[in-house]
């Protein structure tokens, strides 16, 4: 493995100190001169016609500066995907979920704005609602939009010959899984400040993961001439997918600002956030898998029904993304994916760490354990027999590149002590799950490139202008480490600036685990060019050819003769003063397949893989589950900053534990019943074990220094690993998330008392290929009865 000086080091993040001193200014901390406070009037009903809307009394309230309704907004429908536009900025004549934006107010303070909302009179005529996505698909269901049905979008893909695949299978399994509606729960709620300038430009401060996308979205929503919008993106208090698509507060604030001539700030209350900030999409997944007796999966079909909520957001993208991965996972020769995105009268969903993959992986990886049991195979062995291998193209044409899936599986099993499976004390269980995920964003939007600017100043200090959105993951630090490595200088010598769409190059944002792979290549390229420039500049002094110069330890010297050199800073000075040359370079990374990609084989530039293994303890009296141990082995290519990368996995794993065991936004008639942190529990210090994270190094030649993304994968296999461990502990197979103590308690009660469910009576003789480990495991029925 190549040793680097800065890359691969556990270095503190550039922004960490300011975050520990309270100096970091988040959006909620910002005040602009003359700033007004906005509030949004939201629908109290899940589906209704607006019969009358009267804002006169609100407008008369002292301190109110503007009140707007749909009449003040452009008549244009919006969605992230323009072709699927379905939402007005403010509701015109109809509301479709509790929380739908109806009107908005700007006032001198928040309390006055809230008071004004109470004075807005709205009369609604209730309309029939539909909450269940399957019911919503029926022809007689109440419609949310004008389309032929409530199916907003669908996707169907088949590779190989599914029918033949199932015909060749020795066993076919079909099960249905349900995942829950979970909230991102960023500690900072959504917020925005907009300032419409007299000259026509709109300046926006937004907590966003995709600032350049937001810029274009606001152009569309507000029908502005292209180039009108400038987005500042200050540090964000969490994102996880919640800040990918324009939230209506941004255009609302813009219109309020235009009407008042003042900057307008709108901040979600925590309850508003739970009720309206969009959630992870709940999926219903019907998973059908055909296997040969030796465990090889020969055919697989997933039918996914995604509860879209009232409007399209990232629904199509998440369902499609999950399908692309599903079609490649385990290299199944005959595979089919059918996805339906269905409108219901509920808060819309959006992307959330994994983009549909956690939902489908929960189904697939839960079912694999059931298959293993039926075949008399160890779940680990079954996965090893199907694991994707490096360079092996899937039926869809997708190429996982480097793909140490088998290695990740083996290491995770070894670290958790998989051989203990047959000797665990009562109520304990071990489970594992693997995953495949993009390690480099996606090309589905036609562009997956990046550029970065790098200046070496006259003192030798480096400024990198990067488009990355640092949402706390350390993206700016990672970019700086890449540049420092190339230039042979310390991390302290590099500053990163960005956070402003007028300054940074167009970029798709922080999602899809793409930043390191995509933007990292641009940063590396920029630094390489600066290095070339410096080498040319100092070659004459050093009496050497530029290509014979080394950049290392803050010095530039002739290869093999470290004393024939000069300081990096000195070289920079000489370049400015003696040669009269600035050092300012642009690095470009061009992903040519972006615009030309065809089909599912090209969507992800490279994949990453992982295996997580957990040990759980179930309280037989209550059904409460404790995760005692968690091991996460993640293929990352090459960690640029292992400490930050581990942090991504650890945080994702904790969110995965929440997803598996406790989190769900409960709706009753479309109304959230637990929209506070008191009632919607997220994992605390005592719900999460100290995990063992292994960053598996296998440099991917496509990435910068061999790196690929790690933002999302840590959550993808967690829930099925836990579900599998719970099954191992109790014999209860839970197919719905979250596995609350109540659900598990009920399921345990419904188990046949004896013999133990863990090795069902119908388990056939292990086929010839079963591992010795498994055979031993299969012979411990006494333990199974607990």
């Amino acid at each position: 493995m190549t040793e680097y000086a800065v890359v691969g080091r556990r270095l503190p993040k550039l922004d960490a100190v300011a975050k520990t001193t309270g100096e970091t200014v988040y959006l909620g901390d910002m005040k602009l001169p003359g700033m007004l406070h906005g509030k949004v009037l939201r629908s109290p009903l899940p589906h209704a016609r607006i019969a009358r809307l009267d804002t006169a009394a609100a407008a008369r309230l002292p301190g109110v500066r503007a009140v707007i309704t749909a009449a003040d907004t452009p008549r244009v429908k919006f969605s992230f995907v323009e072709a699927l536009a379905d939402k007005y900025l403010l509701c015109t004549d109809r509301v479709r979920f509790i929380g739908d934006e109806v009107a908005a107010v700007a006032a001198i303070d928040e309390a006055t704005a809230l008071q004004a909302l109470d004075l807005i009179e709205v009369e609604y005529d209730e309309l029939p609602c539909v909450f269940d996505p399957e019911a919503a698909m029926q022809p007689e269901a109440a419609r949310l939009h004008n389309g032929a049905s409530n199916v907003a979008w669908e996707v169907h893909q088949e590779f190989g010959d599914l029918e033949r695949g199932f015909a060749e299978a020795d066993e076919v399994f079909e099960d249905r899984y349900e995942t829950s509606r979970v909230c991102h729960c960023c500690l900072e709620t959504q917020a925005v400040i907009a300032q419409a300038h007299q000259g026509g430009r709109l300046e926006v401060w937004a907590a966003t993961q995709a600032p350049h996308t937001l810029k274009h979205e606001l152009d569309r929503l507000l029908q502005l001439p292209p180039g009108s919008v400038r987005v500042h993106y200050p540090p964000i208090g969490g994102s996880f997918g919640n800040r990918l698509v324009a939230d209506m507060k941004a255009p609302i604030a813009a219109i309020l600002s235009r009407q008042t001539g003042k900057p307008v700030k709108i901040v979600n209350s925590r309850t508003e956030e739970f009720e309206t900030a969009r959630t992870r999409y709940p999926y219903l997944v019907t998973m059908k898998t055909g296997v040969r007796r030796d465990g090889r999966i020969v055919a697989r079909a997933a039918r996914v029904i995604c509860d879209n909520g009232a409007y399209n957001d990232k629904g199509p993208s998440t369902v499609a993304s999950a399908g692309v991965t599903f079609a490649a996972f385990y290299n199944v020769p005959n595979v089919r994916y059918d996805g339906y995105i269905v409108y219901t009268n509920k808060q819309p969903g959006t992307g959330f760490r994994g983009f549909g993959n956690p939902q489908v992986t929960f189904a697939g990886e839960s079912q694999l354990d059931m298959i293993a049991e039926r075949l008399g195979l160890d779940p680990l062995e079954l996965r090893l027999r199907n694991a994707n291998r490096a360079g092996e193209a899937a039926a869809s044409g997708a190429r996982p590149g480097t793909c140490p899936m088998a290695e990740c599986l083996r290491q995770a099993a070894a670290k958790i002590g998989w051989q203990r499976r047959r000797e665990l004390p009562p109520n304990r269980g071990l489970g594992l799950a693997a995953m495949l995920h993009t390690g480099a964003g996606a090309r589905m939007y036609g562009y997956n490139s990046a550029s970065a600017g790098l200046t070496v100043d006259e003192e030798g200090k480096v400024t990198l202008v990067s488009s990355v959105t640092d949402v706390g993951q350390g993206a700016q630090t990672v970019m700086a480490q890449i540049a420092a490595e190339v230039l042979g200088i310390g991390l302290d010598e590099v500053r990163v600036i960005g956070n402003d769409t007028d300054l940074t190059a167009y970029d798709l944002g922080a999602w899809g685990s793409r930043t390191t792979w995509v933007n990292g290549q641009a940063a590396r390229e920029a630094a390489l060019r600066a290095r070339e420039r410096l080498a040319q500049s100092v070659a004459a002094w050093l009496e050497a050819a530029p290509e014979d110069l080394e950049f290392q330890g803050g010095k530039i010297f002739v290869r093999g003769a470290p004393d024939r050199g000069l300081d990096f800073a000195q070289a920079a000075r000489l370049t400015y003063t003696k040669r009269g040359e600035p050092i300012s370079e642009t690095g470009r990374f061009v992903d040519e397949l972006g615009p030309t990609m065809k089909g599912w084989g090209d969507v992800y530039p490279t994949f990453s893989t992982a295996c997580q293994a957990v040990e759980v303890e179930v309280d037989p009296e209550t059904g409460a589950v404790r995760v005692l141990q968690a091991v996460a082995v993640h293929d990352i290519g090459q960690a640029i900053n292992p400490m930050a990368a581990e942090g991504q996995v650890e945080g994702a794993l904790a969110q995965g534990i929440g997803y598996a065991l406790m989190e769900e936004l409960l709706l009753d008639g479309g109304r959230a019943v637990n929209p506070t942190f008191a009632d919607y529990k997220i994992p605390t210090f005592i719900d999460v074990p100290d995990p063992q994270v292994v960053l598996y190094s296998d440099p991917d030649p496509t990435g910068p220094f061999g790196a690929k993304g790690i933002g999302e994968p840590g959550l993808v296999p967690t829930a099925p690993a836990i579900a599998n461990a719970i099954y191992h502990a109790t014999g209860a197979r839970l197919r719905s998330l979250p596995i609350t103590s109540e659900r598990l308690f009920t399921a345990m009660r419904e188990q046949p008392a004896a013999p133990g469910p863990r090795r069902a009576a119908e388990t056939p003789e292990p086929p010839g290929g079963a591992s010795p480990d498994q055979r031993a495991d299969g012979s411990g029925p006494d333990k199974l009865q607990r």
Binding site: P12, T20, C185, G237, Q473, F685
Partner: protein
């Protein structure tokens, strides 16, 4: 927040060692006094319900949730916020440990977490086990880190002794 000056009450306290005399309405929350009146925005509002700990500050060395604490109840008290922790450019050992252990991601929970950890240093013995540390910090939510690196940072400082002085 509408602050009704007519009903204001006098409030004397020290904030990060600076003595202050203010007039605040009786219903004003300490978090608003700090953030809106004094411009100390380090303490964050994240739940408004005393369940997340993002707004934690110390009042006479006791951790409180400033989002649900009346400013007038701090009359005559010493209030410490994250802004007062680093002295003359020297980070507090907890701040340094959070930086070095990678315990900071988005940073939104960090000020409250560090203030809670500061009170932990005074409350727990330096050989307290992880379970004790976890239970002490139970009321501070972090959505980013999964807590592992925060635990590492706090444990490291606790082991150095409880003085809170230079590490």
């Amino acid at each position: 927040m509408v602050l009704d000056a007519a009903a204001a009450m006098p409030l004397r306290l020290t904030v990060n060692d600076a003595p202050l005399e203010l007039q605040v309405p009786p219903q004003e929350l300490l978090l608003d006094t700090l953030r809106e009146r004094l411009g100390l925005t380090g303490a964050k509002r994240a739940c408004d319900l005393q369940v997340c700990g993002a707004c934690t500050v110390l009042v006479d060395e006791q951790p409180v949730s400033a989002c649900t604490y009346l400013s007038v109840d701090a009359d005559g008290c010493r209030v410490e916020t994250i802004e007062g922790l680093a002295a003359e450019g020297r980070l507090h050992p907890l701040q340094r440990a959070f930086v070095e252990h990678g315990a900071v991601q988005c940073g939104y929970c960090t000020p409250g977490m560090i203030m809670m950890a500061k009170s932990l240093l005074a409350a727990l013995p330096s050989d307290a086990d992880d379970e004790q540390i976890r239970l002490y910090l139970l009321g501070n939510l972090c959505r980013c880190t999964g807590y592992a690196k925060i635990l590492d940072a706090v444990r490291a400082v606790l082991r150095q002794g409880q003085t809170g002085s230079a590490a």
